[in-house]
Amino acid sequence: MELYAVVRAHGLKSRLLRRNDYEAIASGEKGLYEYPDYSAVSDRDALEEKVEKVYRVYVRRVSLLASLTPELSPLLNALLDRLEFENSKIQLRRLVGGGAHALFYPYGRHIGPSRLSALRSWEEVWGALSKAGLVETPAPEERSLAGWELALDLAYCRHLLRGVEGSKVSRRSKRALERAALTECSIALSRWSRALGADAVLEAVSGAGLSGVCELLRGVAAKSWSAAEADRLLASEVAKPLEEEYPLEAPFLYAFEIYARLEARNLEKILTGLHLGLSRDDALKFCAIAL
């Protein structure tokens, strides 16, 4: 089944958008609906509807692969669960900011946006994640939003590493997946060093028992990458090596997930840029185009 899923992933990857496609969309030459996977996205849709439909395509692609390979579903589902953690952050910001209408990622294998939006405190959010099995420790006693969000990011890293651990793949593949997950986590967590300082982040990571991430993070924590740079790093430092070294093994699925995730993020950025009336070049400059 692993090989079948990898072959399917190659098929799905061949349908991912390339640089010229992004350029055509950003310049208005082509509508997003002209691409078969995005035929549901209409020009008449509001920006938030378009973005939601784009993420549905990403979730559908990765869910398909997860359903095809029970031995890899812990990892693929853990990768998708990132959206559940992101939605939790969105709900916490909503609570702190005074309950304005929020836009959630259209994903809810465990909690889902409608249940999440009814939660009223940090303890309730953490409790829901805990009940869903996404976090295993009691709610950290944090008082600030930044502290809550960092705790969620750390919890996601642990969840992802558990997903790698729970996957039934060869030892070689598992090592590669673990390395990739650690690199991804260190890239994601290093962005906190700008807000909280590198030492505070290292302390939090080490306190969370993520020793592997801590080691990698020591080398990158001082870097203050922008969101676009972090996305580009994800493509070049995680996806590309996996794709090149393991074209017919489980790690390729991880690489595909990153490409599919970046496609959704790129389209979200381009659609937002077009909505704001940015030029083609400005709309494209924040994208991480890996293919």
């Binding site: 973005v51 910001r93 909503r94 900011g97 807000a195 676009a228 937002t272 704001l276 400005d282 709309a283």
Partner: protein
């Protein structure tokens, strides 16, 4: 009676001319402050562009979520007197609260946007004041011109005509009296 009216009109004109001078000085001052408008508009356009780029770079979902953390400023409308001319002015009653925005990039952009917006509010206040003072100046000018060019000359004319008439009557009376005395 006519003389008193003329005197009153002349005194009124002097007062109006003094007020006109004061308002004109105020208007010149306000217009010189309005030179900042271009700078404020450029700063506002730059801040908007930076906010648009941040929105595009982070994507709509994250941007909207982070933006919801910023509590908006409180702006009030108050009446302020510029040389006695009441003008409506926007006053910042409360600065925006960005304390919950923990992302440094979002915070920087929000702070820059607020600074630029506060600059635009100041410019808008000066513009409003200049418009109101200008309106008052036009109105005073019209009254002063009317006094200067029409009311005072016509009163002076009337006084002159009455004085001539009175002088003629006095001359006639004098001639009549002499004739009576001589005859």
């Amino acid at each position: 009676m006519l003389r008193r009216r003329l005197e009153l009109a002349k005194r009124g004109l002097t007062i109006l001319q003094m007020r006109r001078e004061m308002l004109a000085k105020e208007l010149v001052l306000l217009l010189s402050e309005l030179r900042r408008r271009r700078e404020a508009e450029e700063a506002f356009a730059r801040a908007l562009q930076r906010a648009a780029e941040l929105r595009a770079s982070r994507g709509e979902i994250e941007f909207r979520s982070m933006a919801s953390l910023a509590k908006p400023p409180r702006i009030e409308l108050v009446a302020v007197s510029y040389q006695g001319v009441p003008v409506r002015q926007a006053r910042v009653a409360g600065e925006p609260d960005l304390s919950a925005v923990h992302d440094p990039e979002f915070r920087e952009v929000a702070e820059e946007l607020w600074r630029a917006l506060a600059g635009m509010i100041e410019v808008a206040n000066v513009e409003e004041a200049a418009a109101e003072v200008g309106k008052q100046l036009v109105s005073i000018n019209q009254v002063a011109n009317s006094l200067e060019r029409s009311v005072i000359p016509s009163l002076e004319d009337a006084v002159k005509r009455v004085e001539e008439w009175v002088a003629n009557r006095e001359l006639e009376d004098f001639v009549r009296a002499r004739r009576l005395r001589g005859g």
